[in-house]
């Protein structure tokens, strides 16, 4: 069993800055857990604490049955893929992958077998004798992955491994990472700031903000039932429309069953549809901009003519004129209500 358990893990830096404020997480054996959040939210720090590259200021971190707080990175039986790949520039691709095995005194023929197998899986066999500087970004990324898998560790840690790649390669590598993780069945923790990467890779998605976990769960749960305003705004692209409703209501907006008190109403662009009647929520917008992205289009409009901006997704390319007035509706199960003071979900 190589599950990872974090219990109220905290990180306080020497200057008194608290980067991680008590995070508790359970990552089951073989699970793919993605930590996502804006920069500075503590996700990388948390990962580095699991790796042993940062000391843990409070709480405990366990891998399998063993608490690893005081254990050296070398003895945690983990492998990590870094954002800049961190390949050893003076070693060949083969030696880069063999280094960890040599450090552990693995027999030579066993090293050779494992390195060649990893090279085959990752399709870097033709480059085994090359130095990292003679490789492209994507190839370096594969070597970094190879270095992680040859050791057959208990846990893989990924620190934004795809952010240095171009968009096309990123999607391709994303799929490969997912396949590889499924095939190997190794518990993985993956840090990213890209919510699309997070949604597609995760078994368990953890949204972090300001050193705390906002919400953890299956990606689709976070999409369908965000528990805080932050998660609602972070998951999904284009982002959810979030409207602050005063007690008196907003001009151009009507709810079938009015809510009381100051609340924030959220509705996703894809849950709004153009219709002249009905709807648990109906908004009148004046079109300010339109975007056609092929199969679908986005309409940007001002609520009631000069209110806050609202985005509506429509299928096809049948775009309204700028300045036109439209009516869009949403069903009641697609409405999210949050407390304005605490940011917590109400419905």
């Amino acid at each position: 069993m190589s599950d990872v358990r974090l219990q109220s893990v905290r990180k306080v830096y020497a200057g008194g800055v608290e980067a991680v404020k008590g995070v508790s997480l359970e990552i089951a054996d073989g699970q793919f857990c993605v930590l996502v959040g804006p920069s500075g939210c503590g996700k990388s720090t948390l990962l580095r604490m699991v790796a042993g590259l940062e000391t843990i200021s409070g709480g405990t971190c366990s891998i399998g049955d063993r608490e690893v707080n005081e254990i050296e990175p070398a003895d945690r039986d983990i492998a990590m893929v870094f954002q800049n790949y961190a390949l050893y520039p003076h070693m060949s691709v083969y030696d880069n992958m063999a280094y960890g095995l040599r450090n552990r005194g693995t027999p030579k023929d066993e090293i050779d077998r494992r390195v060649r197998e990893a090279a085959r899986i990752l399709e870097v066999e033709p480059f085994l004798e090359r130095k990292p500087r003679a490789l492209s970004g994507g190839q370096r990324q594969r070597v970094a992955m190879g270095r992680a898998i040859v050791r057959k560790p208990k846990v893989f840690l990924f620190d934004e491994p795809l952010s240095n790649l171009d968009a096309k390669l990123r999607i391709q590598m994303r799929v490969e990472i997912k396949k590889l993780q499924r095939a190997l069945g190794t518990t993985s923790i993956y840090v990213t700031h890209d919510q699309l990467e997070a949604m597609t890779l995760a078994d368990q998605l953890v949204v972090m903000n300001k050193g705390q976990v906002e919400q953890a769960g299956a990606p689709i749960t976070l999409y369908e039932r965000p528990m805080t305003i932050f998660v609602a705004g972070f998951i999904g692209a284009p982002p959810m429309n979030l409207l602050d409703l005063p007690a008196s209501g907003l001009p151009g907006l009507s709810l079938a069953s009015p809510v009381s008190g100051p609340v924030t109403l959220g509705v996703r662009p894809e849950h709004l549809e153009l219709s002249t009647e009905g709807g648990a929520l109906a908004v009148e917008v004046q079109v300010t901009a339109v975007e056609a992205v092929g199969a679908e289009s986005y309409i940007y409009g001002a609520l009631g003519g000069q209110g806050p901006e609202i985005i509506v997704r429509i299928p096809g390319r049948d775009l309204p004129a700028i300045g036109a007035s439209l009516r869009a509706i949403a069903r009641s199960e697609n409405l999210h209500f949050f407390s304005r003071e605490t940011g917590i979900r109400l419905n």
């Binding site: 050296e72 070398a74 003895d75 800049n84 280094y99 450090n103």
Partner: protein, 293 residues
Amino acid sequence: MEKRVVFNGRLLPYLLLAPQLVITLVFFYWPAGQAVLQSFLVQDAFGLSTEFVWFENYQVLFSKPEYYKSMVTTAIFSSLVAFFSLSIALLLAVQADRHIKFAAGYKTLLIWPYAVAPAVAGVLWLFMFQPSLGLVSQAIRVAGFEWNPLLRQDHAMTLVVMSATWKQISYNFLFFLAGLQAIPKSVIEAAAIDGARPARRFWTIIFPLLSPTTFFLLVVNVVYVFFDTFGIIDAATQGGPAKGTETMVYKVYSDGRSGGDLGGSAAQSVVLMVIVIALTAIQFRYVERKVQY
């Protein structure tokens, strides 16, 4: 992406290079040429007549056993100084790189010795190790060891090696520290996760990645010990006792200045120059190949 400035005129590049070229010619090539010329001449004691003698000065030089002795002295002296100044500086730099607290103060203090003139460094160490009055000598004597660099050649050699090393450590330290800081932290972290303990990390990752710096410093240090240590030897031992610390550069001075043999001294400096050029060439040719860039 490399950015290059392109000059179209022919004159401008030469003009821009001119100051450096003039300095090199006037202060390096001209004296060197003078030395070569002088080495073919013999002057009488009063400087009244000069005779062109071709290689006679060199023949005389290489027939003297004490010249070979100064070569051996130089070899011992330079390898000891280069070895100790490089390894101690590397050790200090690794410590400084690891320790962040008070790093600025620590670094500043380590750099100070470099600002001390060689002659002053020699005098400082002479004072500390002067057999009858020196602070350190007294402590050594209390410990029951008979220390006397004025009489014992090995003691004198130890003294000059210590002072020359002490002075060069600062310079090497600075470069090693810069070299260490240029190594990406994540590479070292990756090695730590790959199961390498600190000592193994140092020898398999850090040391190979530092090799360009080490190579550069090796060249600079060899030149330093061959020439710039003159002041230290002059102030601390004057090449004594019984020429036990007379390196080649010091012999150039003592034969030419005190001995009045200008032709012979010029021949010695030409030989010294050839040796240093050869050593540097060998370092570039053979050591550089093994350097990881």
